[in-house]
Amino acid sequence: MEELDLIDKAKEGNKKAFEELYKLYCKRIYRYCLINIARNDLAQDLCQETFIKAWKAIPTFTIKDGGTFQAFLFRIARNLLIDLSRKKKEFSLQTYQEIEIDEQLEEHVDREQSIERLKVALAKLNDIDRQIIILRYFEEMSHADAAQVIGIKDSALRVRTHRILQKLKGLLTNDE
């Protein structure tokens, strides 16, 4: 069944269809939450909360507005992350970049110098810039979708990505 059919059925209250959607997107949402938050258990909770909110709000979702379902889900996840970081400042993204990535990734992935440098560089970026890198280059979202998730204009995102890449390059060369 296609994604659009699943969305239509989920809008009508079909939980089976929503389960299919959950299985399509749960890994990506969890990964996105984990890279933005310091703890694994919190990332799991946020992932579940994201889908509960999506289930409640899915009748309002329309493709005609120019949005996609992935943008809709990631937008909810991002809002939840912002809420959490406001409530508990210890789980802010800056602290995570230096702690959790080291623990999570270094256990499973070979240590390469470039990755280390990237982690450091990402930690130095501000929140929106980091989100742009994650969504545009790691999640491979379109400009429009990424802009929708972050809540800025498409054109602004294009300009900003160009600047961020230059900035990252500068940060990495300085570290070398």
Partner: protein
């Protein structure tokens, strides 16, 4: 700028983050218990839809009427034009009738300017000021039924020949007597006086 290869490498690292089984396999079981049965549609969303629908329908209605005005007999929109014209005419006629009725009522109810101030109508010609004011208050110059009504009301309220001063009245009476004498129609009073004179002369 950063190389695409470098970014691709970082992407691989990002994708290699382990997903616990509790998310993919048992995650849905936990989630399905927490999902509410009813999904609620926000009221604001419904309002937006209804407002948009109403706006579009109004625009469509106005556009069809506008397009119908240029139509000719035999065309599809011509009946629409006829209907709208009929409606417009009836509405205008009703408005006119109502306005006329209102004006008529106000004319009948409104008291004369002299009566309102408690001044008795003096003998003599009405002054220019009063006539001007009356003309202002009574819109008798308009054509049609209202105009004639107002003129009649004016005549009944201010019959012009009765308003004369004492001196003028005496002079007028004299003039009338002379006029009557000239015409041969002698007034009764004169006749009586003449009869008295005649009797006196006979006695002498």
């Amino acid at each position: 700028m950063m190389n695409k290869e470098e970014l691709h490498q970082y992407k691989k690292v990002y994708e290699s983050i382990d997903i616990p089984d509790s998310i993919y396999f048992t995650g849905w079981d936990q989630l399905s218990n927490r999902l509410p049965e009813k999904q609620h549609v926000p009221k604001q969303h419904m309002w937006h839809r209804s407002i948009i629908f109403a706006g579009i329908s109004v625009i469509f209605f106005v556009a069809t009427i506008g397009a119908a005005q240029a139509s000719k007999p035999g065309e599809i929109l011509y009946p629409v034009k006829k209907l709208t014209n009929e409606i417009i005419q009836t509405v205008i006629q009703e408005d006119r009738k109502e306005n006329e009725q209102k004006k008529g009522k106000t004319m009948l109810i409104a008291p004369s300017p002299t009566a309102t101030h408690g001044i008795k109508p003096t003998l003599g010609k009405p002054t220019e000021k009063t006539t001007k004011n009356e003309n202002k208050k009574l819109p008798g110059k308009s054509n049609g039924v209202l105009g004639t009504m107002n003129k009649n009301i004016k005549k009944t309220l201010h019959p012009t020949p009765t308003y004369t001063t004492k001196k003028e009245g005496k002079e007028k009476n004299k003039d009338q007597q002379e006029h009557n004498n000239n015409n041969g129609n002698k007034p009764q009073q004169n006749q009586s006086s003449q009869g008295k004179e005649h009797n006196q002369s006979e006695k002498k």
